[in-house]
């Protein structure tokens, strides 16, 4: 039932213009659904383990099936939220697209009369996929989103810098300032390249490098504000 509701919500969202905020809302909805179904499953399982009857085993199987479906749906919707955000920050979506496709196909494999052993096997497929692909692709996407945002901030500052340089009359005075500004921009570009190489090995390292760029961006902003004020004073 919830899948029908979610599908309806998603299709409505597409009709109204699907952006990262709408995708995030869908993700929150799926997360709540999954958390609830997982909690229901855990309770029923505990009850069954305390009192092993056939009726309780069947109840647990049904709750497990619902939870596994909600889990696949959650992964698919979460990856879609990342994909939309990636598109907004001009990142590549090839890897994430194949992951979404995998979860959508896997969700179709569940049958209402699946026996418990089949459900365990299907759950293991997801566990394996998560370990080998999904986790890596998700963190890579998170990094690419941040990298895209950082590059956009740097380029916006560079555009202002170009405009300010064109307004300068006393070139000799400002040249020393411009050298310092160029150095900060250079540092930012080096960090971007370094982080791109780090992401293949460690998300934390790549993220740390990008984090150090925040200080450089603040410095660049401060320098340009100073140049801006000086030009104004000279006029």
């Amino acid at each position: 039932m919830w899948q029908v509701i979610l599908s309806f919500l998603i299709s409505t969202s597409f009709a109204q213009g699907f952006d990262s905020n709408k995708a995030y809302q869908d993700y929150q909805f799926s997360l709540e659904t999954y958390t609830q179904s997982n909690s229901d499953f855990q309770k029923t399982r505990d009850f069954y383990l305390a009192n092993k009857t056939l009726t309780l085993k069947e109840d647990t199987r049904k709750k497990l099936l619902a939870m596994l479906k909600a889990r696949d749906q959650l992964e698919s919707v979460y990856l879609t939220a990342l994909r939309i955000k990636l598109l907004e920050t001009h990142g590549q979506t090839d890897k994430i697209d194949s992951e979404i496709e995998w979860y959508k196909n896997h969700l179709m494999n569940y049958k209402d009369d699946d026996v418990v052993e089949n459900l365990f096997a299907k759950s293991s497929e997801v566990g394996e996929r998560y370990k080998t692909n999904t986790s890596k692709v998700s963190y890579e996407a998170l990094f690419l989103i941040s990298l895209g945002e950082e590059i956009e901030l740097r380029q916006s500052h560079e555009a202002i810098y170009t405009q300010l340089k064109a307004l300068v009359k006393d070139k000799d005075f400002f040249n020393r300032w411009f050298t310092d500004i160029d150095l900060v921009i250079q540092t930012l570009k080096q960090n971007e390249e370094l982080a791109k190489t780090q992401i293949d090995k460690s998300y934390d390292d790549a993220s740390e490098t990008l984090n150090s760029s925040v200080a450089s961006l603040n410095q660049l902003n401060k320098f340009l504000t100073e140049v801006n004020t000086s030009i104004k004073n000279q006029q």
Binding site: L74, S146, V214, N218
Partner: protein, 117 residues
């Protein structure tokens, strides 16, 4: 004419449920309450009527004034913002402060893989 009006009011009175009739009769018989209430409501109604008939129909429109804001140090010639008071460098500074490298909102959800029973 008088008979016609009486007839109409009688018809209306007959349609009113007995319970409400009892309350209305009780209200009318208690003159200490009936007259003050009737006079008070009549006055309110009369004042509203006078207001509608002779009231000033044009509302005074208060002048809207923008809160004075500090002008930017320098307006960049190709600034994309149409607001003359906006400072692109200040806007970017805000974006830097809001920049979340970890993308906290989108960290992967905690998934349960322990399902054996």
């Amino acid at each position: 004419m008088k008979d016609k009006i009486t007839q109409i009011f009688t018809k209306i009175w007959e349609r009113i449920p007995q319970r409400i009739k009892d309350v209305l009769v009780k209200f009318y018989t208690n003159k200490k309450i009936f007259w003050p209430v009737t006079i008070a409501f009549s006055l309110i109604f009369f004042i509203i009527l006078l207001g509608l008939l002779f009231g000033n129909k044009t509302r005074p429109i208060s002048e809207i004034k923008n809160t004075p804001s500090a002008t930017p140090a320098f307006q960049l010639p190709d600034s994309s913002s149409k607001d003359p008071n906006s400072d692109p460098l200040q806007d970017l500074k805000k974006k830097i402060n809001d920049f979340d490298v970890k993308q906290s909102r989108l960290t992967p959800p905690t998934i349960n893989f322990d399902i054996q029973f």
